[in-house]
């Protein structure tokens, strides 16, 4: 038992806990505010508190619990909303005072045993299944060993035990220390895209299943909208959406939309495949720091069942800032921009928890991490942005000028990269979209050329350019407006399946090629520029089958 000696916001010092372990949990004061040991001295320990410490005073008790910060993993996660410590917010009090969030739950699930008494089970193989926990069967995994008891088919509450394996109980829920990666078999070498349904991403800047993507962008560049679109429409089995120090209204909005939207693959609400972790910017700061780890632990848990999980963290900058704030309060020496010196290793370790793996039980599963970065002042040279760029496989830089021009998603094609881009394009070709790789290359080169010519036009004026270059300028505009732009609000265009993406990009490229031919054949450039391309630009709102017809309408009128 320890005693509180100092309170400075979330930084609490206690005496008498010098024999506790680093990162063990501590209950502080009469309200038993949860905290975590982050430093130990000869005469006491430094604790970061996860809730508001108002009223906590020197002399009050502090008790070490002997366990590290752990998340309770179970079938209650899918469709739920949780705080940074994975305590359910659904059903908690309207206003979150101390101890107002508690682990509870009265749900029940239908259990089917998948192993029998006497069976020998390998670690990570299922001993049972819960069927109504979400969009997918929820598997209860064996720690490995002989099954000495297993429950019969029937309904089970959250606290129940389902089997005894190798002397250990397997429960409906299990607990895992969030800062430690969950074990798996080995990493797999395949490259399969995560289909996001966003054309600029899928075509130009794709991310692989088990890959990592970072999304840096100043405020107002549409980061959150892009991430929410991916959360809704990407082809993952489970999506973990971590709102880390972001806006409460946006969290409320995403939760409501997920419950209203239908999952095209299962027909149920999208919320059933989603776990939302909400730690809004006015909730206690240090739980924000934990929420990133909690989120990736949940994703790993579903990966271990053989599912493809995506963690969307909005925003990793708030996580880094929480670490900075605490480091500053505890008097740690600041490194770059005041961040603690372990920022790079902490970020690397976080992104390394992504991967396409063979799970312990043998099934293939993946964790894809997509992290938003909020650079102060839109400065892309600040530490969190530059470090994240080093560790992420894909980078989707959001551009303020594109956003001001209401070009959404405002992903810059010049400042972004996808290190697996070519391999993922080859996957699409193998999957039956023969033109995908050439469309990708041609779109990227036309955009680059149009940018170069636009810069030239600023010096010499558009009128001084040769006809060919003016067509390329027009082509850049058609690609931007007819292909890359995508409205998150439009029910028809919010999600673009690969077949529709390839149809649209084919149509736009055909029209550009035709314009180039016309210009080469002597058609006056103003006639080409003043032509009505609106049917092509409206094709974004149409199903894939109607796109060629609209293209032909424009081509016919151009002759």
């Amino acid at each position: 038992m320890g005693v509180v000696t100092r309170v400075n916001g979330p930084l609490v010092q206690v005496s008498g806990l010098s024999e506790a372990a680093m990162y063990d949990l501590v209950d502080l004061g009469p309200d038993r505010i949860p905290g975590e040991i982050v430093g130990i001295r000869r005469d006491g320990a430094t604790v970061q508190a996860y809730e508001y410490t108002g009223g906590l005073a020197p002399g009050q008790p502090a008790a070490a619990l002997g366990v590290p910060l752990s998340a309770r993993l179970g079938p209650h996660l899918l469709g739920g909303v949780f705080d940074g410590l994975l305590r359910p917010l659904t059903g908690a009090a309207t206003w979150l005072g101390p101890r107002s969030v508690n682990v509870a739950g009265d749900q029940e699930w239908r259990f089917t045993p998948l192993a029998a008494e006497g069976d020998h089970t390998e670690p990570g193989t299922p001993v049972g299944r819960l069927d109504d926990a979400g969009a997918l069967p929820y598997l209860l995994l064996s720690p490995g060993g002989q099954v000495t008891a297993v429950r019969a088919e029937g309904r089970l509450p959250i606290g129940a035990a389902v089997a005894t394996v190798g002397g250990d109980q397997v429960g409906v829920t299990t607990s895992w220390p969030v800062r430690r990666p969950r074990p798996f078999g080995d990493r797999l070498g395949e490259t399969v895209p995560l289909i996001t349904g966003q054309r600029v991403v899928d075509l130009l800047l794709p991310v692989a299943r088990g890959g990592t993507a970072a999304v840096p962008g100043g405020f107002g560049t549409g980061k959150t909208v892009l991430l929410q679109q991916i959360a809704k429409w990407c082809d993952a089995d489970v999506v973990v959406y971590v709102g880390c120090g972001e806006r409460g209204n946006e969290m409320a909005d995403v939760v409501q939309e997920l419950s209203e939207l239908t999952d095209p693959r299962t027909g149920g609400p999208l919320a059933r495949r989603t776990v939302v972790i909400a730690n809004t910017s006015n909730m206690p700061m240090m739980a924000r720091e934990a929420s990133i780890y909690t989120g990736v632990t949940v994703a790993e848990h579903f990966r271990d069942m053989g599912y493809h999980a995506v963690v969307i963290a909005d925003s990793t900058s708030r996580w880094a800032e929480a670490r900075r704030e605490f480091a500053s309060r505890s008097g740690a020496l600041p490194a770059e921009e005041g961040y603690p010196a372990d920022l790079a290793s902490a970020l690397a370790a976080f992104y390394e928890r992504a991967g396409l793996v063979r799970a312990l039980g043998g099934a293939a599963g993946s964790v894809t991490i997509i992290g938003a970065v909020s650079p102060p002042g839109g400065d892309l040279t600040e530490p969190v942005t530059t470090l994240t760029q080093r560790f992420a496989r894909s980078l989707w830089s959001l551009d303020r000028d594109l956003a001001y021009a209401r070009h959404y998603p405002a992903v810059s094609w010049t400042e972004s990269f996808a290190r697996d881009g070519d391999a993922l394009a080859a996957w699409h070709v193998r999957d039956g979209r023969a033109a995908w790789a050439t469309q990708r290359a041609r779109t990227a080169s036309l955009l680059a050329e149009a940018d170069r010519i636009a810069a030239l036009a600023e010096i010499v004026g558009t009128g001084a350019l040769p006809a060919h270059e003016r067509v390329v300028l027009l082509g850049g505009r058609l690609i931007r407006e007819g292909l890359l732009r995508q409205s998150a609000l439009s029910p028809a265009d919010a999600f673009s399946a690969p077949d529709r993406t390839t149809a649209l990009s084919g149509a736009v490229l055909d029209v550009i090629d035709h314009c180039l031919d016309l210009a080469a054949g002597g058609t006056p450039i103003t006639a080409i520029e003043e032509h009505d391309y609106s049917p092509l630009l409206r094709a974004r709102e149409q199903p894939a089958a109607r796109v060629p017809g609209l293209r032909d309408q424009v081509l016919a009128a151009l002759r």
């Binding site: 000696t5 100092r6 309170v7 400075n8 916001g9 410490t53 108002g54 009223g55 005073a57 020197p58 909303v81 917010l89 659904t90 908690a92 309207t94 206003w95 979150l96 005072g97 405020f219 107002g220 709102g243 120090g245 806006r247 409460g248 209204n249 946006e250 969290m251 409320a252 939760v255 909400a278 809004t280 910017s281 006015n282 909730m283 700061m285 708030r318 800032e321 704030e325 500053s328 600041p334 005041g338 909020s374 102060p376 002042g377 839109g378 400065d379 001001y404 021009a405 209401r406 036009a457 600023e458 010096i459 004026g461 009128g463 609000l489 520029e529 003043e530 009505d532 609106s534 630009l537």
Partner: protein, 455 residues
């Protein structure tokens, strides 16, 4: 109020706005303190740090005139609470809530902690209805939505206070009960008088509370003023069922006060010497906006930020922008109100406008106006380099469109209140300056009804 529990005499240090006390016992972090000077004057403070028997207290009215031997500090055993209720409406008070209008002190049936308590995100109702301001550029392009927080970014010398006061005087939510809480921080006497005059009618009507912390008032008091305003507003909204607009001007002055306290405590400074927790601190204010499930009423927050040297990447506007759901940006050179439409954005607008709320084609009209303005900006930048004559005819049409936009829609008198009909009639007149084939973001049947070529 709870009776003071203990009184401490031993002041070991006075530095900036801080008092360091020795020999305290049982005092909790963030407790409210009363500081009695040798002269008998009473001041108020908050506990920033407790370490064994030492406590650091921040004095809201500053430490001037305080002595080590003559100062008595007592602690109340709880964070600061204030009276709340409709008694605040129609009142003009100072930055700590003391009356400036000659009336009695404000009393309420209930009290509430000024720091607020975080709202459970699952209990939030997503904002979905507009607050109309009667300012055309705002109502069409960056509509305020009930429960939203949206910042007004400006620079020194621009009429942001006039615009904030015009919004405070004109804003409404149709037939539903509506009130305004205007928190002024660090205003000059001249500015404060102007704001008071503009808001006089609404104050007299009992629809507005004005809290005035002036430039020569104690700096640290500014840390309390916005919290006071939000606490009053939350009660009016979530207990009283009103839609409340909270205007906080100027947040830059607030942040400077925060920096002053941080510097006095010797904290490691972050960008531009602001404390590393500026984001969390601002979020603890702005995030108090919203709507709550199962309760009528809403709190909409409009902080006004003057960007030092017009720099939008300065920490105060930058962190504000990361927290608020959009911004209205003022830029120099234009007629009143000098709103830069392209830099301005209301993120929640898509849920708060449209059929049954404003007009059915609202979002498409706004998107088309902005797309055309973006194209005009490109053309204008080009024209500045190569001359207007080197532009294509299409580009020249966009220059003409933007002139119509500025003259017909944007420009407005400071006391002019335009309803939605007037505003959208103007918007369609402006759009009709472009050929119909350029309006690809508007549906053909909408164009059939509203588009008038060449008007």
């Amino acid at each position: 109020m709870i009776a003071p529990v203990l009184e401490f005499a031993e002041v070991t240090e006075l530095t900036g706005p801080l008092v360091v006390l020795r020999g305290v016992e049982g005092v909790g972090w963030d407790e409210f303190a009363r500081v009695r000077l040798a002269s008998g004057e009473l001041r108020h403070g908050l506990v920033l740090d407790v370490d064994e028997d030492l406590a650091v207290v921040q004095v809201l009215q500053g430490t001037s005139g305080m002595t080590r031997s003559g100062t008595r500090v007592s602690f109340t055993g709880s964070p600061l609470r204030i009276p709340v209720g409709p008694g605040w409406l129609g009142r003009v008070c100072d930055g700590r809530g003391g009356p400036l209008d000659g009336g009695p002190p404000v009393f309420g049936q209930a009290t509430a902690p000024v720091g607020g308590v975080p709202l459970n995100p699952t209990m939030r109702r997503p904002p979905a209805e507009p607050v109309l301001t009667g300012v055309s550029a705002i109502d069409t392009l960056t509509t305020l939505v009930r429960g939203q927080k949206i910042a007004l970014f400006s620079s020194a010398g621009l009429p942001h206070l006039e615009l904030a006061a015009q919004i405070a005087a004109q804003a409404h939510t149709g037939t539903e009960p509506f009130s305004v809480v205007f928190a002024a921080m660090g205003l000059t006497h001249a500015d404060a008088t102007a704001v008071r005059d503009t808001l006089e009618e609404r104050t007299a009507a009992g629809e507005l509370t004005l809290l005035l912390n002036l430039a020569d008032d104690p700096v640290i008091e500014r840390l309390l003023t916005p919290r006071l305003a939000l606490t009053v507003a939350e009660h009016l909204a979530f207990e009283g069922g009103r839609h409340v607009l909270v205007i906080m001007a100027d947040m830059t002055a607030y942040c400077e006060a925060l920096r002053e306290v941080s510097a006095a405590r010797g904290e490691i400074p972050a960008r531009r010497a602001y404390p590393g927790y500026l984001y969390s601190d601002l979020a603890s204010l702005y995030e108090r906006c919203g709507r709550v499930r199962g309760r009528p009423g809403s709190v909409t927050v409009l902080p006004v930020v003057t960007m030092p040297a017009g720099d939008i990447t300065h920490p105060v506007p930058d962190l504000t922008g990361y927290i608020t759901e959009g911004q209205i940006v003022l830029a120099g050179g234009g007629a009143y109100p000098p709103i830069d439409a392209l830099q301005s954005l209301s993120r929640l607008m898509r849920k708060g406008v449209g059929a049954g709320r404003t007009v059915p084609e609202h979002l498409d009209v706004a998107a088309q106006l902005l797309a055309a303005l973006a194209r005009e900006r490109q053309a204008r930048e080009l024209a500045e380099l190569v001359g207007e004559s080197a532009l294509t005819p299409a580009d020249r049409r966009y220059l003409a469109f933007a002139r119509a936009f500025r003259e017909d829609l944007l420009r407005q008198r400071r006391d002019e209140r335009r309803d939605l009909d007037q505003t959208f009639t103007r918007a369609w007149r402006v759009l009709s300056a472009l050929p119909r084939r350029d309006l690809s973001l508007l549906a053909p049947d909408t164009l059939d009804v509203h588009y008038r070529e060449g008007s």
